[in-house]
Symmetry: C2
Subunit: 348 residues, 2 copies
DNA sequence: AATTAGCACTCAAGAGCAATGAGTGCTAAC
DNA sequence: GTTAGCACTCATTGCTCTTGAGTGCTAATT
């Protein structure tokens, strides 16, 4: 375990490095008010901390910077969840109270707010399909050959897809079909839709009106795709990382943006089953393109049920306390907001 | 007017500079096969071209690069629309034939394809609201206090918004309302919806069921917002500009990305009323943040009616011929595709 | 009269080098 | 155990020099 003094110096190095992004030398530390030992002593301590793997040098005579192990230690032991001012985040709550009833809007605003407050990039993973249920299905005939299937989930998400219909079908027929579909499929988890379509509806309809068969075939495609369709991502402050000194290299920024385009991969990163806030630092990330970054994730819920993930991505030299505090606060706010939005649905 | 030889040399400088991004000297030009005069002569010609404003130097003893006036001349007089191979672009046509019936998908694919082919950034402006009409409206009750209004346009766009409903209202009432709305509002241009709601529907309903009044109030808000809601933008290849040597500078990339976040402004840039392909080079752009870029825009249509704009943005050192050819081809393809998608609607 | 060879000149870019200074580790004194 | 002192390291900066690709101008050539 670390001594009191080691902790103090370590903490100072973290703080200073996070601020300045430059290696911290013994002199700078010795000038801090709460430090009362000489630079030489500090050098000894720093050598110890380096030996333990918490600090490293950029070259043989440079000051020290935290290693990833150092950040890990910091996050695990020194980031006390001091509840700083989170009133900024509580805007979300008011948004919902003031008539922002749209799930997507709330999420977009949240991403915006969080990235503005932290200066990092926010990523929000929308509700997983397998956690939502069909609220209602509608089919709108668009042209003589195409119609749009509109699926509304219990979380207020609206998905739609255009598909082929037989030429001869008319609006009344479609209405009949929609009624049957709603009767049979409402409340079914989205992910099971296509399966249930076969089980419940197909047989039923075949007897009645057989030109539906072809249509259902296409509709099934729609439902299947919809359920495979991975959850949506929302971003905020993608350009924030330009402000971080570690990203004043074109190559790094380029790879960051390319990485952010891999939505599949990112979605997978955020699909963490854990239900608490998590911090992964640099190489701790399995996904190679973000091994220069720190990813902080937290779930948000509908009631007690996991709904999606909200994440911050930034340099490993991160304001961990601030980021963690705000992310935690925001995930609570979102949980709160969605509870208000969908409470009666939830309890139903 | 320019002499034959001046044209030839000018053309060579453009070609070479577009390729290499470096100032072009007389020696390089003299080594070209189609050039048979000495470097000294070329220098004289270049001095003339510079005097006329078509070329400029980066410093007193550098080679020449095209000026914006030079590019303008090139685009106006030297870019002959040689129909190069546009089979790449015709993928779009097949997409639609193969069952990509989604407007949004077609647009997204188009943006992707065009940016891949050109290595610039594609921006597509979706259909203007004032050019679309209501196909159908649906209201789905979500919770006891909220419902989702879903608007489908004749172009297959689906817009939705959650709004407040009175607690006491039930599904049957909503159904009644929806029927009335559809009866009265179908076919109305989206932009007139909120107005027509007052004229046609409000009075009608007030007599019947007066608790609708409050609901309609909120619904009107929805419709109003929806019509003010500026047309959607689709992007492709935002990261392509990293490959351009002029964007080797973090500052430039940063400002590019910040610029791309100003969707309002960009949408306005693309809302050009002109109905042909247009090229604006550098300072010709009124919008200051893109005065380092060239913007190429072309409209796409539904039948003969303007529907939206497809644009390429890249450095002024652009492969104009290629960009123009491909953009033209793609806008035709999209027009074609939408004709197929919505033809019977269009002729109705 | 138009073209070109020749030449002096310009300037960006890069290599080499010394000076600076912020940092270190180690040793010996406190 | 702490710290003063000192030799040492190395990234950074600024300076000068060289290089080479380019120019414009003048005089010779066609």
């Amino acid at each position: 375990m670390l001594t009191e003094r080691q902790l103090e110096i370590f903490q100072t190095i973290i703080d200073e490095f996070v601020k300045s992004a430059r290696p911290i030398g013994s002199k700078i530390i010795s000038e801090k008010e709460n430090i009362s030992v000489s630079p030489a002593t500090i050098r000894n301590v720093m050598a110890d901390l380096e030996e333990m793997g918490y600090l490293k040098k950029t070259h043989s005579s440079s000051g020290r910077i935290p290693s990833e192990k150092g950040y890990r230690f910091y996050v695990d032991h020194l980031v006390t969840p001091v509840m700083t001012d989170i009133s900024n985040v509580q805007v979300i709550r008011h948004l919902v109270e003031d008539g922002f009833y749209e799930f997507e809007r709330v999420v977009e605003m949240s991403a915006e707010i969080l990235s503005d407050l932290t200066n990092y990039t926010t990523i929000i993973l929308g509700p997983e399909v397998f956690n939502t249920r069909l609220k209602q299905i509608q089919i709108v005939k668009l042209t003589s050959r195409t119609a749009i299937a509109i699926l509304v989930t219990n979380t207020g998400l609206v998905e739609h897809r255009t598909f082929i219909i037989p030429e001869k079908i008319n609006s009344t027929d479609i209405e009949k079909l929609v009624n049957i579909l709603n009767e049979r499929l409402t409340g079914i988890p989205m992910i099971q839709l296509s399966e249930k379509l076969d089980e419940e509806v197909l047989a039923l309809i075949k007897d009645n009106i057989n030109m539906f068969e072809n249509m259902l075939f296409h509709l099934k495609d729609v439902l299947k795709n919809e359920s495979e369709h991975s959850a949506k991502l929302y971003f905020g402050g993608k350009a924030n990382l330009f402000n971080q000194p570690e990203f004043n290299d074109v190559e790094k920024i380029h790879s960051f943006y390319l990485m952010m385009e891999q939505e599949e991969e990112i979605a997978n990163l955020l699909k963490r089953t854990e239900n608490t806030l998590q911090v992964t630092i640099g190489r701790e990330n399995d996904y190679e393109p973000i091994q220069d970054f720190t990813l902080v994730t937290a779930p948000y819920r509908l009631g007690h049920e996991y709904m999606g993930t909200i994440a911050l991505i930034g340099p490993t030299r991160m304001q961990y306390r601030r980021a963690i505090t705000l992310l935690k606060a925001l995930s609570n706010e979102m949980t709160e907001a969605f509870y208000h939005l969908y409470q009666d649905h939830y309890f139903k």
